[in-house]
Symmetry: C2
């Protein structure tokens, strides 16, 4: 894990953002604009907020319409591309394909074998073959990365710290299998490990398991731990948390959330801190070296 935030890419020139769901693409767009870059948004229909894209020159498109995207980005004079926002892994049969996509088909089919990591790094290769430079959102807007230390007033107890260290060990051992980036640990017991369901549904499961009597841990015990996978293409898929994560952590009855500092995207840090304080939860960025065993 990287503990340090990378330097912002200061290169000039317009930036194309392939824009999924949520507010994060607009945080990145604003940060890039403040650095003096022109921003063009390729809005993925059904995902990108149709109201907020209006603030930028934009075009709507679908995943897989590589030729359509390339024309849009080239017309705008963009070489740099950032992909950001929520998305669900598409099914091959649901992709709307155009000619350029069909030309890239061997890469795309290969991308659909194996885990998310594999899918995403293939996206990077495909864009680069088309003459673009794929950047991580945190490279154009380093302020979206979680820093070390607590957001808000609560901090992990020594027991929470033991659960965090255990959770990091679990994530380290599973990351080579391209499994999810999150785990819930309480009293050194793994309650849930994320795979295809994603972090939100995993947290809802903890609340559900309490209702069903399968998790009978006292309220206020346990930690959500998030960290990037080993060998993950960080330009495309850093773990992220936001205010909704805190709401779900509270509903799951946990003590807090710990994420890898410098390698986790934090959407709306002020709202995260407020939500954590309101629920008496901690939200901390941790560096590996900061964890005692």
């Amino acid at each position: 894990m990287i503990a340090q935030a990378p330097e912002a890419v200061t290169a000039e020139g317009p930036l194309a953002i392939i824009c999924g769901g949520g507010t994060l693409p607009f945080t990145v767009a604003e940060a890039a604009k403040e650095r003096g870059r022109a921003v063009y948004i390729y809005a993925l229909s059904g995902w990108a907020d149709p109201h907020r894209v209006k603030d930028y020159p934009h075009r709507f498109g679908a995943i897989g319409q590589l030729g359509h995207f390339c024309r849009f980005a080239r017309e705008a004079g963009c070489r740099d591309v950032v992909c950001i926002g929520s998305l669900i892994r598409p099914a091959l049969s649901q992709l709307r394909v155009d000619l350029a996509t069909i030309m890239a088909l061997p890469d795309i089919v290969a991308a659909f074998r194996g885990g998310d990591n594999h899918l995403l790094s293939s996206v990077g290769r495909i864009l680069e073959k088309s003459g673009f430079r794929l950047l991580g959102a945190h490279e154009v807007a380093p302020e979206i990365l979680m820093k070390e230390g607590a957001l808000g007033g609560f901090k992990p107890s020594p027991r929470d710290e033991a659960d965090i260290a255990y959770g990091l060990d679990v994530l380290r051992s599973t990351s080579s299998f391209d499994i999810g980036q999150a785990v819930v640990v309480a009293d050194l017991r793994v309650l849930a490990l994320e795979a295809a369901e994603g972090t939100d549904l995993m947290l809802e499961r903890i609340a559900d398991l309490r209702t069903r009597g399968r998790v009978r841990m006292a309220l206020g015990r346990g930690v959500l731990v998030k960290a990037p996978k080993a060998g993950q293409d960080r330009r495309l898929d850093l773990p992220s948390i936001g205010p909704d994560t805190i709401t779900l952590v509270a509903r799951a009855g946990l003590a807090g959330v710990a994420v890898a500092a410098g390698a986790t995207i934090i959407a709306e840090p002020q709202r995260v801190a407020q939500a954590a304080d309101a629920s008496k939860l901690f939200a901390v960025g941790i560096s590996e070296s900061g964890i005692t065993r």
Copy 2:
């Protein structure tokens, strides 16, 4: 993993079965009776089938009533004890305790820190301190273990075999963390990894993720893989499958289920084979050495 079924314990003398939910305790009881052993059932209230326990000398009790159980088992002249059947990990606050349990309290409190494995091996130590010999259900009834090869007419394809090998690798890497004994892999992608939810809820999750569009795999792809954890106390907690597992595997849209031969309990093998054939699924017992990489 053990590929060979252990020899049955042929020792004479009456057997006490601490009986949880499901039909498996009665399969074990019948097998022990056929071998000429008297069988006494300590039925866990709320779990043990109250109708079927009537076929045996029995007493109802609750988890944690160690003194009550010990009196029952000693009166019956039992030295050997088997714990078998479904149960949910109890909360310390919900245990009904008696004096003998309070005497054993330091062990019991220790048992509630850490994962299931840790809990279960502590149960073994507590029973042995009380003068009993804890046996695995498969030691008194080896016929409950899954054998190598397919039950029913369907077999894994080469693609399924690759998913099975991958799943076994995942389980091997996570088992030191005392996480669950099951994983779902499709096209070399981990869709779900079991922790506190148990296998049934994990399979329901796959069906749910299809509905939500988060898993868009074609139907008939993917495998449920089950294997015991490393260092697990096999007297208490071998993985198991039964006809209901097949129903859930079918609902999840998978191709089949693969379990560690000689180290997985199979409840009602004929019904498992029928259910697998009816859903065109495979159900195979595999030895580690039988898996090609």
